[in-house]
Amino acid sequence: MTDREQSTGIAVDSAEVKHARKRYRAERRFRMYGVAAIAAAAGMLALLVISIVATGWTAFYQHSIALDVTFEAKVIDPKGGRDPSVLARADYRKLARASLRKLFPDVKKRGDKRKLYGLLSIGVDQQLAELVAADPSLIGQTRRVEIYASDDVDSFLKGFIDREAPESDRRIKDKEIAWLDKLETDGAITSHLNLRFWTKGDSREPELAGFWGAMVGSFFTLLVTLALSFPVGVLAATYLEEFAPKNRWTDIIEVNINNLAAVPSIVFGLLGLAVFLNFFGLPRSAPLVGGMVLALMTLPTIIIASRSALKAVPPSIREAAFGVGASELQVVTHHVVPLALPGILTGAIIGMARALGETAPLLMIGMVAFIVDIPGSVTDPATVMPVQIYLWADSPERAFVARTSAGVMALLGFLMLMNALAVILRKRFERRW
């Protein structure tokens, strides 16, 4: 005690100081744990993104083989009528094969010939047909056309197949390598951006498979989801929060909404299968049904988010509006809902983002089918992005691995876009009171 009485201010070596030091140490330790936790999470995320990008980036470019194709009139259009349906059905593969044979005249054996033809994508006929359909005057001329390489060749050219490996372990044999080397020295092998990925639907052949069909399918599905869940969710939340009396019934409803938010999504899929498909007989694999199922799944999220946004509007604003004689509906529509809107929209977008990434319930209603065509409406058969990724991940071809990762990147991109939109909306419309 005398010690403390003598010291006029801050002691250097008292029990108090020791205690304070201990406190600071504890604080520093706590901060360190926090930083470590964040670093671990960031590291995982980085690892995930890096691994996806590393495997997926090669899907964004593709190799083609440039051939001088002679569009022989007698093969394409023997009758000379230039009838589009005739032009579409012609045997274009023959033309491409003829060009290849011209380049490698010494390939005689049947088996070798098939291997030679195998350098080109199976979609070569479609590719040439599209050219002719776009410009029928090509018939009779010879043009240098860049034809997609087959997926194995593409993989080889991207370096996924090791030249030094024993021939039996390779999907590309020595002969094919020799041909490709010749083509390469001729400058016939080109690489270019893979536009097909962004513009076409699915295909059995990796080099032809595109993501666009899945994107359009997701768009239609989300459109249906949004159109159903947003108005219903906002109305339900507004009624429950602003108008409904607080009694046992509303308590039960509230508890059930919270429970519904925690129900596994596959259950909604089963519900959709039983009710929408089997009972109402709605079309299978359609974005309409997918959207309805996802709307059911998103609804609780939107209601809960909207209710908390409405709750966050200060009561003083309600009082102010009541005070000047606004009716209950006017208070809600003129003041409370507009103020809660950023929160409501954020909740809705986050719900939508969850719906965008959802797979399980859609598998139950048949949106897992292999669909090549781009859906044109909500009732056309379609698939969605995460299901497409699932389908590709399941495919055996080597080139689908990269496409899967590319699909994941596209999906993540859309999710980030939607979250960014939520942040922007919140910042833009947030009001201070």
Partner: protein, 263 residues
């Protein structure tokens, strides 16, 4: 009827007459048989310790308690002879006649102009933009705010200072041309200068309106009001001329409260 000699709850020519007003929240009674008259063109202040029911009573006069679940108001309150506790009376119409200003300045997060224009718009009091502009200007002028904000009418009302916000709220209340203005501790969030401005405004407004003000500041009650009612534990202990209440209260409890003694 109370004895007017000792407790002048009744006055000649009252604007609002309250008789046997009782309020309970979910079965818990907060006010017991309140008898009180509010005079025309004067300021009546309600004072008393927290939880004594003065705010509850204030909110009875424009039926703001309707909004609260489980709140039951009985008795009789008449404004200009019209019984307002009747179910037939539309609370929305009543609140136009009996405006309210709250403890915390609560302008809408809209422009200054829209804050004032909102009331006249929803009640259909004006025809056309010119008339609305005029109402906005006169309301702001009466609230003594026009000179300060005339160049920034389209800026948000929430950007004003606390005192200006409270005067904006008063302007908003008078824009719908009420007869009575209720004020629930209007200066408790303001600094002394802003408080003085609001008090000056109240003094000005009493020529045109009947004002009831709840305040925790006895000095404020003494400064702005002509009549004062002291509430304690849900009853009106004493009502009288403000001067009498603050120099010579008749009831021990009033005395104890205003002099700051244990009661």
């Amino acid at each position: 009827m109370l004895d007017s000699e000792t407790n002048s709850a009744t006055i000649a020519d009252p604007k609002v007459v309250c008789r046997d007003v009782s309020v309970s929240y979910s079965g818990k009674q907060a006010l017991f048989d309140i008898d009180l008259d509010i005079g025309s063109h004067q300021v009546t202040s309600l004072i008393g310790p927290s939880g004594c029911g003065k705010s509850t009573f204030l909110r009875c006069m424009n039926r703001m308690n309707d909004v609260i679940d489980g709140c039951v108001v009985t008795g009789s309150i008449s404004v200009d002879g019209v019984e307002i506790l009747d179910d037939e009376i539309d609370a929305v119409q009543l609140r136009r006649r009996v405006g309210m200003v709250f403890q915390k300045p609560n302008p809408f997060p809209k422009s200054i102009y829209d804050n004032i224009a909102y009331g006249p718009r929803i009640h259909g009091l004006v025809r056309g933009k010119d008339e609305l502009d005029e109402v906005v200007q006169t309301s702001l002028e009466r609230a003594g705010l026009w000179e300060e904000v005339k160049d920034r009418l389209l800026q948000p009302g929430t950007g004003l200072s606390g005192g200006q916000q409270q005067r904006l709220c008063i302007a908003r209340a008078i824009a719908v041309r009420p007869d009575v203005i209720l004020m629930d501790e209007p200066c408790s969030a303001l600094d002394p200068i802003a408080t003085a401005r609001v008090e000056e405004l109240i003094d000005e407004l009493k020529r045109s309106y009947s004002i009831v003000i709840v305040t925790h500041s006895m000095q404020q009650a003494a400064r702005v009001s002509q009549r004062t009612a002291f509430f304690h534990l849900g009853i009106v202990v004493e009502v009288g001329e403000t001067e009498q209440i603050f120099t010579n209260p008749r009831d021990e409890r009033t005395q104890g409260y205003i002099t700051g003694r244990y009661g």
